[in-house]
C-alpha cells in the first residue's frame, strides 16, 4: 500500500527541509515561538537575494505570526524559524515575542480585552 503512493506530494519535498538551513535545526539566539510576530523592514525585491529569504520577506510585509509565515511559504516551523533568525540577525526583520508568562492577576485586563473583542465578532 505505502509503496504505491509515493507520487507527487506523497513523495515528500524534492529539497530536504534542513538543506535550506544548511543543516541548522535551531533558530540561533532568538527565542521564536509560533505566535511570535514578525514584520519585514528589508525589501524582498532586492536583486540577488536567495529565493527562500525573498519568499519569507514577501510573506511578512505586514505583521504576521511565525506560524503564518510557515503556512504561506509552505515550510515546517522549525525551518522557518532558522531562516527568520538569519533575517533578524541581518536587521531585515523586526519581531515581538508573545507575553512570557500569563499570570491571572496582571492579565485580567488583557483577558477582558480579548473577551470584548470576541464578543464583537
Amino acid at each position: 500500500m505505502a509503496e504505491d503512493s509515493w507520487f507527487d506530494e506523497d513523495a515528500g519535498p524534492l529539497v530536504r527541509p534542513f538543506a535550506l538551513t544548511r543543516g541548522r535545526t535551531r533558530p540561533g539566539r532568538y527565542d521564536l515561538d509560533m505566535i511570535t510576530l514578525v514584520v519585514a523592514i528589508g525589501s524582498h525585491r532586492e536583486p540577488g537575494r536567495e529565493p527562500e529569504y525573498a519568499r519569507i520577506l514577501a510573506a511578512c510585509q505586514r505583521p504576521v505570526s511565525v506560524a503564518e509565515v510557515s503556512a504561506t511559504v509552505d515550510l515546517p516551523l522549525v525551518v522557518v524559524k532558522v531562516l527568520l533568525s538569519d533575517l533578524i540577525e541581518r536587521g531585515e526583520l523586526l519581531f515581538r515575542s508573545p507575553p512570557r508568562t500569563v499570570s491571572p492577576q496582571t492579565d485580567r485586563v488583557v483577558l477582558q480585552a480579548v473577551l470584548d473583542g470576541v464578543r464583537n465578532l
Partner: protein, 196 residues
Amino acid sequence: MASATSEGPLLGQSALKVLVAGGFGVGKTTMVGAVSEIPPLRTEELLTEAGAGIDDITGLDRKTTTTVALDFGRITVNPELVLYLFGTPGQERFWFMWDELAAGALGAVVLADTRRLDSCFPAVDFFEHRGIPFVLAVNCFDGSPRYPVDEVREALDIDGPVPIVHCDVRAKDSSKEVLVTLLEHLVQRAEVGVLA
C-alpha cells in the same frame, strides 16, 4: 537569549493563543474556520520522538521524525492584540509531545462528540495535568444524542468549575459563544486570583 527585542513602532501588536483540542474528526478545524477572520491556514512541524518498540534490543538511540500538521485561524481582537486559534492535530500521540503548542496558551476548548465521548479523554487529561484552563464543548452533530450537561460532566468526571456547553461548530455564533464562555471563565479565574 534575546527576546522581545527589535521592537519598534512597526510592531505595536502582540499575539495570544487558544487551543482547540479533541478527538479525530470532532470538528476542530471547522470551529477554527467558523470564527477566524481568514480561512484556516495549515502549518507543519517536524517532531522527533524516540523509537519505542519491543524489537528494540540493540540499545541504539532510535529516533524518528514525524511531520505533524495543524490548522489555525486568527482573530484581530483590537489594534494591539491578535488571538490565534490552533486546532491540535488529530494524532494525539504527536501533539502531546509538542510543548510549544501548549506553552503560554491562555486556555483551551476541548471538543467532544457524544457518539464517541471517550475520544476527548486524552485532551481533558492533558489540560488538567498542565493546569491549563479549558471549557468542554459538546458538538451536537445531526442526529447525535443530546445529553444534559450534568450527565456529560458525570460521564467525563469533569471538575465543577470547568464550564460545559453544547454547540454546533459549523455556526459562527455558536463557535463564538464557546470562545466567550472560555474567556469569561478565564476572566473569572483572574478576578479570584486562581494560579494557573
